[in-house]
């Protein structure tokens, strides 16, 4: 629709105008053919849809003003161009208060018109969801990964569900994120579900996600950190898996179980010995040993923002690593080969500043190269593959 108007407008325009039409066409393409899975233009939930509705209205008005103003401009350029042989000088018009006042009134009316949905939409997206079905998840942003703690989902022994980078949520349920940062400012953004919200150290911010439909297991909804947070900001991604209620419950049950600690002297035990000396300096795992004893290995760290305790681990929890499809904050496909490459030299995959880590003072800027032999790497990868 808008496109036809734009075409007609420019059919008669001179040099400059003919080129200028590139711009509205691009804008219209953006409006009509949102593309890609991380787009704000094809929402998959009611909140993002509200935002998109406001955007559509504003885009329409903007297109109207654009066509009007460009039309006037281009028409004036064409109509009042200097013509060869014309010796007369133009009338020396100095201005017109009527037009000035008209211009002001015109702009004020248009802006007043869009300020209403602005404020209404704002209150909508900032509303705190209420009801028993609201799912609460605590989010901690880290350079350069995301830590999720499902404070509503607890095991019999009181452990909460902890995972990283891949968020699993039920369809149609308001998911209320309570967020803070362990280091610098990040921003949590999954465009098809909602706008972004900064994740600020020392402060708590919130964001509500509601998803319409379950996602196919191999096509989670993508998102990523939207506030520049240093070296690997580009590689700080988020994947959201949406399940139906039963699927979500099944996922929670699995995640709350411990994984298995290899029995002494078994093939996997060598990998475990390496893991338990080097990797548990940063990563937590909850394992059940042969005696049936459940132990959480690795450091347990919290930070407090606005009186809320947030997990602040040095590295992602690996208990159910192979239940995830990706690693490196949603950046790399998770398989044995990639993982071996990562353990061998993490910075060959993802830029980090691990040499500037200072665990004693709680500073982690990436996973260090641990100097393992290729045999050791293979043993560790074999072990990790059993943690699903």
């Amino acid at each position: 629709m808008g496109e036809a108007i734009v075409r007609a407008r420019y059919q008669t325009t001179p040099r400059l105008g003919r080129l200028l039409r590139v711009v509205p066409v691009i804008l219209l393409l953006a409006a009509c053919s949102g593309s890609g899975p991380q787009t704000a233009l094809e929402p998959e939930g009611p909140i993002a849809r509200d935002i998109d509705g406001v955007w559509d209205l504003v885009l329409m008005l903007a297109t109207f003003v654009f066509v009007l103003v460009m039309g006037l401009l281009v028409w004036a350029m064409w109509r009042y161009r200097e013509r060869p042989g014309d010796e007369t000088e133009p009338k020396q018009l100095h201005g017109s208060s009527v037009i000035e006042v008209g211009g002001v009134v015109f702009s004020v009316v248009l802006l007043a018109f869009i300020s209403v949905p602005t404020v209404r939409g704002l209150l909508d997206i900032r509303a705190v969801p209420e009801g028993d079905d609201v799912l609460h998840i605590q989010v901690t942003g880290h350079q350069w990964w995301w830590e999720f703690e499902y404070v509503d989902e607890t095991a019999a022994d009181g452990r909460t569900l902890i995972t990283a980078n891949e968020l699993h949520i039920p369809e149609d349920v308001p998911v209320y994120l309570t967020m803070t940062s362990a280091d610098v400012i990040h921003s949590f953004w999954v465009p098809v579900l909602n706008g972004k919200r900064d994740v600020v150290p020392g402060r708590v911010t919130n964001l509500t996600l509601i998803a319409d439909n379950p996602t196919p297991p191999d096509e989670p909804i993508p998102g990523q950190c939207a506030e520049f947070c240093g070296l690997a900001h580009a590689d700080m991604r988020i994947k959201v898996h949406v399940h139906d209620a039963a699927g979500y419950a099944a996922w929670v049950d699995e995640q709350l179980l411990p994984s298995e600690q290899p029995a002494p002297e078994t093939a996997l035990d060598a990998g475990w010995q390496t893991f338990n000396t080097l990797c548990t300096a940063c990563h937590q795992v909850t394992l059940e040993d042969v005696e049936g004893e459940v132990t959480t290995h690795g450091p347990e760290r919290y930070i407090t923002s606005d009186d809320i305790e947030f997990r602040s681990s040095f590295g992602p929890n690996l208990t159910h690593l192979f239940s995830r499809d990706t690693f490196g904050s949603g950046t790399f496909t998770l398989d044995a080969d990639h993982l071996a490459e990562w353990i061998d030299n993490p910075e060959s995959l993802k830029p980090m500043w691990a040499d500037r880590n200072d665990l004693a003072n709680g500073r982690v800027l990436g996973m260090p190269d641990l100097g393992l032999s290729s045999a050791q790497i293979e043993e560790v990868v074999d072990l990790l593959e059993t943690w699903r």
Binding site: T39, W55, Y80, P90, G95, I185
Partner: protein, 627 residues
Amino acid sequence: MTAQVQTIRSPGDRGVWAWITTVDHKRIGLLYAVSAAAFFFIGGLEALLVRTQLLGPNLEVLSAEAYNQLFTMHGLTMVFLVVMPIAAAFTNYFLPILIGARDVAFPRLNAFSYWLFIFSGLLIYSSFFLGGAPDGAWVGYAPLSTQLTEVVRMDFWTIGLSTLGISSIAASANFIATAFTMRAPGMTMLRMPVFAWMSLVVAFLLIFSLPSVAIGLFQLFLDRNFGALFYAADAGGDPLLWQHLFWIFGHPEVYVLVLPAMGIVSEVLPTFARKPLFGYPFVVFSGAAIGFIGFGVWSHHMFTSGMGPIAEAGFGVATMIIAVPTGVKIFNWIGTIWGGKIKFNTPMLFSLAFVAMFVIGGLSGVTHAVVPSDTQQHDTYYVVAHFHYVLFGGAVFGYVSGVYYWFPKWTGRKLNETLGKIHFWLALIGFNLTFGPMHVLGLNGMPRRTYRYPEGLGWANWNAVATIGAYTILVAFLVFAWNIVRTHYLNKGERVGNDPWDGRTLEWTIPSPPPVHNFDETPIVHSLDDFWHQKYAENEEGRAVRMPAVTGAADDQGDIGRADHGTPEGIHMPSPSYYPALASLGIAITGGGLVYLPWGFAAIGVGVVVMLWGLFGWSLEPVTKEH
């Protein structure tokens, strides 16, 4: 009567030394212009490297580390070392002439501003050779910018911006004093050309906004070097404080970048439409209004930071209000060409493109004020598109228009029109190819400041288009550079007299290039666009008619309406001085020392001595040396 006016200015005005010691506002203007052009080239190369890396998904042209330095330096360079100085160049050169003055109010302070600017630029750029350039984005958000204290990159940024700020404050004070006290007789405030007005508004914006960021930078510096905890959340500091302090400066700053360009456009459109500016008082007051309201909208850069819905609604609506005076300007520009007789010379083409591109940037700006939409757009390529439409398609096109317009006044030669038109069309096409697609990319989820993006998100095609556009812009500006070299250095340009465009304002009454003292006799001003009214009257129909009495005045210094205010025998201009350059060198050395604390204390010692030497020499030297 204008026989031989002798200017007393010692020593000779040739050679490098003459440029170092100059206190002539025109020379200082040219120094600003040439420096800004050099930085434009460097900042452009940085952008091209960035664009090359983004040509396709997961390319490895640049490492993340290099990429982050390059986009930070690109933004910092374009804002502080290109657009601000090019505006300063025009203001320096033309503010005094447009108001009929012989120089700025404080010529040596003017030299000081320039030298401090260039030394600060060099200080910041030296970081590339000293272990790496600033890499925390030009906005330097805490606590990212205070995080790695063992790496001095961000110290170059805090110190460099601080010394640049001193330079801007000095320049602004100077321009305000000039506009208020140096106007020729009859040049009332409401007869000042719009460009002079906008320079004045910008000077006020800087004076009032820079202190805020100066405090913030000082706190960052203390956090980084002395373990202060202003921005350390775990010790009770507040990272958002920095964002407020930065944007209270940063938002007025965007008007600092664009208002002078709007001033230029308001001079160019009337000249080439052969009509007065439509609604002069409205254009002036809307400029001033933009300046005022510009101080009340800073938090629209923080709609996602968690301020709370009341503040967000307030700043959203305030931001919409600022669109009103901006709209007024657009309508007045269209009104100016409406009914005119438009000559499409290169300066006019760039000014018209300014208006068109600014409309697009202004509209996308209004969409940012719509807070719900902004939570999607913020920190994406949509924003990158927006601010390039206002800063590149807007401001830079305006300044380029100014270069084509005033080049004959600077050098006595016109830039070549054919090359100018090639430059124009390549720039316009390249610009829209580069930044148009970024709207789409941003809406489709591509965040800014990302050194790579994966396949499968649908971003590859538009990114490729944007990169092709960026190279087109490069070609366009190479044509521009060639045009300047050819016209000025190879002497191929058409020679012109005083008034090549049949202009309206005082600069066209004096020779091209102007003599050191600008005006042999101080002009007496009777109206807005005084020179035009010396040349043209209006007939009963309101059309302009050339006044027979002064036919030929276009190439001659029309001598109606002049009073003998100069001293015919000799006009005393302030003497050259190297002390301003010395004082600013001292400040820059001190800055270098501050970057390298604690062992930089030695350099600080040297720097302070040099600075004091410069300042004392400056204050004790006689104003005009006898010879």
